[in-house]
Symmetry: D2
Subunit: 349 residues, 4 copies
């Protein structure tokens, strides 16, 4: 058995990694660590992880994390670099934080206000990388020792739009995205606007006007797919549900592109993917359908009157949007079958 440690196991992302590892046939759970919750039983922090309820959270230290084959980091931004540097080059380190996602140090500084830690291979295997009709990010991940897991919104948006941009069916210069997320995407921090009384029955936007930190990550992914600079107007909204992202993504139909031919780009891109699915024409994604699974459901329509293509993607922000991608990347890094242990059906209704 491969032995895994999970740092930051008390948060929602850490909890979801543990849930997935419990069902993984080749990975066993070693150390589980936390910050403020260190010393507590997992049963008190994550009562849904019944088989782990007697496991105690340790402090997040190099000592505790050492001696595992793979270490999952689910830490607040800025905490991964120092730890990873001490973990040994042979250990697979999967970072769920943002620290190593961006290539541009300037973009990092603008959005995160600290100095850039560096760039690791970006953990979105299905992302078209634009260097050929079927070139995908997967190529960079096999046997990698360090992988940066994508953000949840960038996962939905990038997989929604990349095929059309890579195929030249969409123009790169005026992409507009409005996405709704469940509250678990905001984490477990005690903030008044995240109280159940405030979120139930309510929709609200946040980070409006291009200031959300996932904006440069989305633009980086889409620009690579397009082979050109993509600018995105991105508005996230908070929805009254615990999990799920629904990203409604629009881009202008490229001049000269026939509406009827647009769909082929997505069909071709995802025909062989295990987790990314273009739904049958006319069927639209629902976040409930991917809940708890590693799936991405995608659908699109061409609005010829408005001159735009609308692509909608649904993911579970905690599964494919974070922990599922982390396990998927670990599988690739460890030389396992990419889909090993990952849920392929949503929990609905």
């Amino acid at each position: 058995m491969i032995r895994a440690a999970v740092a930051g196991a008390s948060g929602y992302a850490g909890g979801e990694i543990l849930r997935l590892l419990l069902a993984h046939p080749h990975i066993e759970i070693g150390a589980v660590t936390a910050g403020g919750n260190a010393g507590e039983l997992l049963g008190a922090v994550h009562p849904h992880l019944t088989p782990l309820r007697e496991r105690r959270l340790a402090d997040t230290t190099v000592d505790v994390l050492s001696g595992h084959d793979v270490v999952f980091l689910a830490l607040p931004h800025g905490h991964s670099a120092a730890l990873a540097a001490q973990l040994g080059d042979d250990v697979v380190v999967i970072d769920c934080g943002a620290d190593f996602r961006l290539e541009s140090a300037d973009a990092w500084s603008e959005f995160y206000d600290t100095s850039h830690a560096g760039t690791w291979p970006y953990g979105m295997p299905e992302l078209l990388t634009g260097s050929g009709p079927v070139a995908k990010q997967r190529a960079a991940l096999g046997r990698a020792r360090r992988i940066a897991v994508p953000g949840c919104y960038p996962t939905a948006v990038s997989l929604a739009l990349a095929p059309g941009l890579a195929a030249g069916a969409l123009t790169p210069d005026d992409v507009v995205v409005v996405a709704a997320s469940g509250t678990s995407g905001a984490g477990k921090g005690l903030k008044p606007h995240l109280l159940g009384s405030e979120v139930m029955g309510s929709m609200s936007p946040y980070g409006v006007g291009g200031v959300h930190r996932h904006t440069p990550e989305i633009e980086q992914n889409l620009s690579r797919a397009a082979g050109a600079t993509v600018t995105v107007s991105f508005t996230p909204t908070l929805a009254p549900m615990a999990r799920g992202i629904l990203a409604t993504c629009t881009a202008r139909l490229a001049p000269g592109t026939e509406a009827a031919s647009v769909r082929a780009a997505w069909e071709q891109a995802y025909a062989d993917e295990a987790f990314v699915h273009l739904l049958p024409e006319g069927q639209w994604p629902r976040t409930a359908d991917v809940l708890g699974s590693n799936n991405v459901h995608v659908q699109l329509a061409v609005d010829e009157r408005a001159g735009r293509v609308v692509v909608v993607a649904a993911v579970d922000n905690l599964t494919k949007g974070t922990a599922g991608a982390a396990v998927q990347c670990a599988n690739l890094a460890l030389g396992l079958e990419e889909t090993t242990g990952l849920p392929v059906a949503g929990v609905a209704p």
Copy 2:
């Protein structure tokens, strides 16, 4: 007391009209009628309307509706024209259906597949009509005998964008709107995708690609405000809540417009409005804050990187989005103070 009848009282819109009329100091409730529910007690159909629980739903006929000062029609599309024609020119008829909203018979036919019944004064008092810096639709409603109540999405979207378009701060040619609605907007029809088990915990889009019937109504309103043809990419989504619309509306910042000056258009447009409120800078609308009220909460941000202005509006689809607008219009038509009897605070949390 002014005497009102409500036709289609068994639906959600009809029920909300009755809820508002119960609190109206100058209107008393006369006949309440229905189609399939005729003969039932209101207490069985709308148990929340406690004081009306002994009232029995009559058939929707001209005879029953005659003899009232004002008749509210909350009927399926296509049923208003024949009834209204027989109600007498002196009776105020407020139609919550779509039949008389559109000016273009072609647009009607394209989206509704029937022949156009005509056009009534459009019941959105606060809408800028573009013929001057403060010209508003209110001018067409005082003492009107026939009024077409706007659709719920058009209410949120039009009030969100009209000030910027009228002021020339936004370009009219590439408006993109993504809106989330509570399930009551879809009515009380028994459709599988509206079951609680299906909608709770789930977000999903529908009517994607410019096919939703509110599209031409939005374009009509915005084109009038802009004094130019506005094209909209409109994507509605269904959110896990019973009430509320959150419309995220974006348009390109007009060339030569200074970002800092944009906000003034909204401040000027709504400074004196009782129901439409530009929130203080940095505070964003939440649908829960307008629940059950006739308010519209609006906020905007300029995204200079993306070259777009993002305007977000929240309304209660059943109140300001339908029944509240209907009562507000009735007040104007009847010569009452426009705000009479309308709730000015939301029911939160």
Copy 3:
């Protein structure tokens, strides 16, 4: 106009009092005060109270609260006595806290761990007091200067069971109550289990085994109605909704009581009440039907096999369960019509 101050206006109960006062024809809102939120605008704390958004929260001091005709206290337990003592005997003080509800100093000490502040007239006008077939608590409230507003659970449970106990149709010795409450009943405190991510999609009990502080208040009310000591097994549960209490209350059918005759006790008790309604046979209360209203919906069934009567009551914990009762009591104390300004229809769906 009568002038009212609201102390503790930043919480959910305080906010609801303000919402109701905004619609009250004879009361105007004077000082609004808070603890930690003092200095903030109401618009930041309660964005749903649109007309009050420019009002600033003052500190909760005697000076600020003085000079009003009525003062509503919505403070944490233990803070009312000192304030009330300094407010002048002619001022109407309506306390939404628990401090003055209990008659037994022992019960207070057992459940609240502090010394007993005293007992004020108990603000549940519709409660049968057992001293005669129609004797109700209302008699103690007219022109009272100090009133203790009941707790939310005791409101639902007491109004559900009192008629049967007073009529001798139910035995007092083995009452079992299980109640579900929306999260606003737990207040605005930042506790992990109240996060939206934790409560949405989940039901859970708390305070199990007779330890919830509303237990002695329920027993006090029911014992008075029964004219005998009533013991209650009370289990509250947290439901995934912001507002509402559904109390399922059972007691044993008194020996010799005919099942068919049981209902009459409730019919007689509530026939003339404006807010407490026994629903038509076969129709069961739903919390949504009373949302935002001052109504209590009640229904019952006799289970002859089990030898128990099941009575279910629905209230909005913030309205009739707190703020609505407070305004109702203020109306009585001020000599106004008891129902003045109070919503008689729920906001549904």
Copy 4:
């Protein structure tokens, strides 16, 4: 591989069986059948079952169902007997309907209004059967060819109370249960009260007064555990969530039983169970913690003042409450490890 057919695959129970079988290492999915949905693709009916989306629903006939090792029936009540009779005695038939659960033909007739089809081994392995300190229903299920899967409420209630009744710590004569269920328990039928607009934000009871069909099943289970006739006052309520049951169960503390000794009965009963867990003292079940899993979380408290023990159990009505139990029973019948393929962690938050 063992080959399974699922009849009634278009409903929620059938869909959940398929979800679980997708993760089962030794069972492959053969025929999937339906009534009104026959001919449709599974992708249209259960879009969350992504890997099965191309599978087409066949008619529910003996021909289609024949030739499988195990047949799961998820049919409306009354449809199982005729089918099962033709399926061959060597085929394992797991019936999720009520038809074969009750031993008493009289109870069946009283609650279901049809004639009794018979009694199959009852599929609740962990149920104490009272014939000894550790005698459980599991003994009747190994290698059985016909198994009746328990109802969802009876699962939660029986596992909650059986240990205390079997140990004599609870008196059997006045059990009171109030349970909250998610809406999926009511199935996919198109009924107005199940619309999302009606259930979100609302709690309501149904089947009050001993008329719910699960009442005799609960009494049968508890009577067997107690070795005495148990009478239950059972009130189910509908909660605003898609999945989950929270059962609050109370019984009187048996005379002479010491409160401190009560807990031992549950500890002993479930110490070795894989799916039924007595939580650590002070931690209470939440339905979200068992969502999508086959777990039952149980906790109890003794209320000495009221003379009652309160036991709360949480299950997912579709998993352990139906489909999980079905697969667990199939495992036993097929000679597999009982826990094979069943999720042991909930999907939270």
